[in-house]
């Protein structure tokens, strides 16, 4: 290599370095302004707001230049697909909520279904015929009209395996998981006998059997409507070309970077027309980096705050913390093939020996709530009057002694064999158990105080779920995140037995006919006013028989800059950006 060449390269490299340095110096400097501050306190599902004035530094880095017309949200990852029919993940759901609408939606921070594209509805006395009256003058983003035929065509896309787009999606490896789960399956397996467009503004569903959670199912983020014309055009590329009726329409998806939406000028709901011109959902996978981006003012809001960062965000006037009402419950489950656990006294001893409050206090970063039942408080089947077993080590010891274990329990008879008592915890963090190992250790320590000696066990996540499914875990931690905000989705999924009342293998062979029958009845009852007391009673039964021990609900924390207003958190995560303003 000649030295002249080396020198030239060095000169070029130095020039590049200089440009980098200049670029860095050219960045604008921060300025000081006084802003109005709103602090949201959300210890309970209700949000209380207080206003105070503080001085803060507004950064001059990227976002604020367009801050007046763009709301930038930091997501934890990449959306899977923007076709509502084939997704199950929340990151895609967050974007879909802005683009699409369904017949009904969840009201504000509750799981109550209220009108969206349907103005009103009637249900027949037997609960089988639902007639929806649709709004007039609703347009899709491609300019076509929304009407009853569009609704029928969307349902056909979801449930008819011979529908050309449906068939093409399946062939391309996609699935319609939520339709299958909520509406019984496809073609003849589905709960629908008939779906008809009676006239342009009336659509009628005839069900084979009444379905209690029907409205809650329809309010889910996935049962929202495509422009049939656009869907046909998109075909298997539907993931990247979403066209709905929502307040924002799709502009661009830069993979691994961001999705951009812009306000839809012809949006039907003028009162709730989008307040910001553009929405950008940025993909920032690292939790700490996302919080730093918020601190730097590059994004206006974010999800996926680490439990350890919650307190810092709460205490900083630059930020606003919003807790999404809980939709998750973490529990400890018994396996009924364990002889000892068949005695309710033993189960009660296990329940009374756990001191839940300090555990929730210590391991949930201030976003957890101690619970005594399966449903989170935001659900309408929640039993407010239920009183939990008190934490009482002495009582627990006595119960064990009464049950024939005066020296405590270290060994169990599982499936006829005597084995050491193992307590299984999940190897991964889940919303309902942010730190499973720490929580398991704390529970085990509480149990040890009354003579219950467990050995802690775990295994990789897939095997864990597999063992649970096959009923191989004697005593284990797990939890649930709700789908449709219906109590059925929490309680019946776990405690409803099949037609022959077979003990449920997946749920540790739990078999309670009284409870199962009650839940099955509630599932086919239509009126919420009749269903709610049934679920409250079910929770009481589960509690009184100590069928399972419920530890905590968790409220996922969201962080915003202090100048962001109008974000309404919903337990199911169906949140709409049209009410959001960046001041």
């Amino acid at each position: 290599m000649s030295t002249i060449w080396t020198n030239r390269v060095l000169v070029v490299l130095s020039l590049i370095a200089l440009i980098v340095a200049l670029g860095a110096c050219a960045a604008p400097t921060p300025e000081k302004v006084t802003v109005k501050e709103t602090v949201v306190v959300a210890g309970t599902p209700k949000i209380v707001e207080a206003t105070k004035v503080v001085e803060k530094v507004v950064t001059a880095t990227p976002a604020p230049a367009k801050a007046q017309d763009t709301f930038i949200f930091g997501a934890q990852g990449e959306p899977v697909c923007l076709d509502p029919a084939i997704i199950t993940d929340g990151i895609s759901g967050r974007i879909i909520n802005q683009i699409f609408e369904g017949l009904v939606k969840f009201d504000k921070d509750t799981t109550n279904p209220v009108p969206a594209l349907a103005e009103k509805w009637d249900v027949s006395a037997d609960g089988k015929v639902w007639t929806f009256t649709l709004r007039k003058g609703v347009k899709f983003h491609d300019g076509t009209n929304f009407d009853a035929t569009a609704v029928v065509k969307n349902f056909d896309y979801w449930q008819n395996t011979k529908n050309p787009v449906h068939a093409a999606q399946i062939k391309a490896g996609q699935s319609f998981e939520y339709f299958e789960a909520q509406f019984g399956g496809f073609d003849n397996d589905s709960i629908f006998a008939k779906i008809e467009a009676v006239d342009p503004t009336t659509v009628r569903f005839t069900l084979k059997e009444p379905q209690g959670p029907f409205l809650n199912n329809l309010a889910m983020f996935v049962f929202v409507f495509w422009s049939p014309t656009a869907l046909e055009k998109a075909g298997v590329n539907s993931c990247k070309q979403p066209v709905g009726t929502g307040p924002y329409k799709f502009v661009e998806w830069k993979p691994n970077e961001q999705v951009t939406l812009t306000a839809f000028a012809d949006y039907w709901d003028k009162a709730n027309a989008p307040k910001m011109k553009n929405i950008i959902v940025r993909n920032i996978p690292n939790n700490s980096a996302r919080l730093l981006a918020l601190s730097a003012g590059e994004i206006h809001g974010m999800e996926g705050l680490e439990p350890r960062d919650v307190a810092a965000v709460k205490g900083n006037p630059k930020f606003k913390l919003i807790l999404r009402p809980a939709n998750t419950t973490g529990y400890v489950a018994f396996n009924y093939k364990v002889k000892e656990f068949q005695d309710p006294k033993v189960r009660q001893a296990f329940a009374q020996a756990i001191n839940k409050a300090p555990i929730v206090d210590k391991f949930y970063g201030g976003t957890g709530q101690v619970t005594n039942q399966f449903q989170p408080p935001a659900l309408w089947g929640y039993n407010k009057d239920l009183k939990d077993w008190a934490y009482d080590a002495a009582a627990a010891k006595k119960l064990l002694a009464d049950a024939g274990f005066p020296n405590g329990i270290s060994k169990i008879t599982f499936d006829g064999k005597e084995v050491p008592l193992e307590f299984w915890y999940m190897p991964v963090s889940r919303p309902y158990y942010p730190n499973p190992k720490d929580i398991a250790t704390a529970i085990a320590a509480d149990w040890a105080k009354v003579g219950i000696n467990v050995s802690l066990q775990t295994v990789d996540w897939a095997t864990y779920l597999d063992k649970r499914k096959n009923g191989q875990l004697p005593l284990y931690m797990l939890g649930w995140t709700g789908d449709n905000g219906d109590p059925d989705n929490f309680v019946c999924y776990f405690f409803c037995m099949d037609a022959k009342d077979t003990p449920i293998t997946r749920e540790g062979f739990v078999a309670d006919k009284e409870l199962s029958d009650l839940l099955k009845k509630a599932a086919v009852t239509i009126k919420q006013s009749e269903r709610a007391p049934m679920y409250q009673k079910a929770e009481q039964i589960i509690h009184d028989k100590v069928l399972r021990i419920f530890i905590a609900n968790n409220q996922p924390p969201l962080a915003f800059l202090a100048n962001v207003e109008g974000y309404i958190p919903n337990p199911t995560g169906t949140e709409f950006f049209n009410t959001v303003v960046v001041k």
Binding site: M1, T3, T6, L13, S14, I16, I19, V20, G23, A24, A26, A27, P30, T59, A60, T61, P62, A63, K66, I72, G77, V80, C81, T88, A172, G173, Q174, E177, A181, C239, K254, P255, N256, E257, Q258, T260, N278, I280, R282, N283, I284, P285, N286, S288, A289, L292, A293, S295, A296, E298, I299, D460, W461, A462, T463, L465, D466, K469, G479, T481
Partner: protein, 334 residues
């Protein structure tokens, strides 16, 4: 030399073949059914069966491998399980982002590492030597992850000089040509985007370049020290050559060889480092894509990207070997 290059090319084939078997095998050694992992708490036996069918997991493992390798030879690395995108096409689209980052990082590493190494060697035992070697030691020991977050904290949150991540500011309207943004912005004559790209590159390049920078500095120093003690350097000094001439023309030229080896090896390290850097800095390259795929057990992406990275690594090594001959005429190829 051409014969040498061809021969080296031929040895690459069994290497890549071996890599493909390892990648394929290791993935399947991970305990747990990938269908189960993908479906989580909601897995029903029917769903699991369907996903296994889709993934081809119900075929015997050797059959799965032959399908994979047969398609790979035709340039088809399969489709992502989660998003259905063709892996080959996505690699082509995402790799430029990683190349841009890796080249910037190696540039930072060379620009800082080599001068630091030379100065340390020439001024051996001085305060400057101690300072740069301390810096090098820190660079090697500091986790990229942590360093990245600290850089963001300082330059983005406190000083507001540089953005926290991404390749361009959110809201920038720019349609790339090659997806190498520095090049594209120049081709389109868009100076604004060029400067923006540089600003976005600065922190991740520094974080990713930190370890190679430290290693290059230390290697340059020891290599230079060895050369500086040679007789011909003493001769050069004795015949009255200027200090600078001795270092640049006599010492450096001979100290290059080990430095080039190290730089070549660092390219491989850069690719693995890029996985972390891309996550911290929300960089849309193949590293982050790989991480996401590993979490989701998206087999086709993991296999495809790993195989691709192995190819790049092998290719760079070949390039380094060829460079030897170019730099040092004493190296023979037989």
């Amino acid at each position: 030399m051409y014969r040498y290059i061809i021969r080296r090319f031929l040895t690459i084939i069994p290497v890549l073949f071996g890599v493909s078997i390892l990648v394929f095998g290791f993935l399947r050694l991970i305990p747990g059914d990938p269908a189960q992992v993908m479906l989580g708490e909601r897995a029903t036996p029917e769903n699991i069966a369907r996903v296994r069918e889709q993934l081809g997991l119900n075929k015997p493992i050797y059959e799965q491998y032959f399908i994979f390798i047969g398609n790979a030879l035709r340039g088809d690395l399969g489709r992502s399980v989660l998003r259905g995108e063709p892996v080959t096409q996505e690699i082509v689209r995402r790799f430029p982002a990683t190349i841009e980052l890796a080249l910037s990082a190696i540039l930072v590493a060379i620009l800082v590492g080599i001068p630091a190494g030379i100065i340390s060697a020439v001024r051996r035992g001085s305060l400057l030597d101690a300072a740069s070697m301390l810096l090098a030691l820190t660079g090697v020991s500091m986790p990229i992850f942590w360093l990245g977050l600290m850089l963001i904290l300082l330059f983005s949150v406190v000083l507001h000089w540089l953005p926290t991540g991404g390749r361009l500011d959110a809201g920038t309207d720019f349609v790339p040509i090659t997806n190498l943004l520095l090049l594209d912005s120049l081709l389109k004559g868009d100076l604004g985007v060029f400067v923006q790209t540089l600003k976005h590159l600065a922190l991740p390049a520094l974080a990713l370049g930190s370890i190679p920078m430290a290693i290059i500095a230390r290697m340059t120093r020891s290599s230079m020290l060895e050369v500086l003690s040679q007789d011909y350097i003493r001769t050069a000094h004795a015949k009255g050559l200027h200090e600078r001439a001795v270092i640049v023309h006599h010492a450096l030229r001979n100290a290059w060889l080990p430095v080039i080896t190290v730089v070549g090896l660092q390219v491989g390290r850069l690719l693995s480092g890029a996985i972390l850097t891309e996550t911290v800095f929300s960089w849309p390259g193949i590293g982050r894509w790989l991480i996401d795929a590993i979490y989701a057990r998206d087999y086709p992406i993991v296999q495809g990207v790993t195989l691709f990275i192995a190819m790049v690594f092998v290719g760079v090594n070949l390039l380094v070997d060829v460079l030897y001959a170019w730099v040092d005429p004493r190296v023979k190829f037989d």
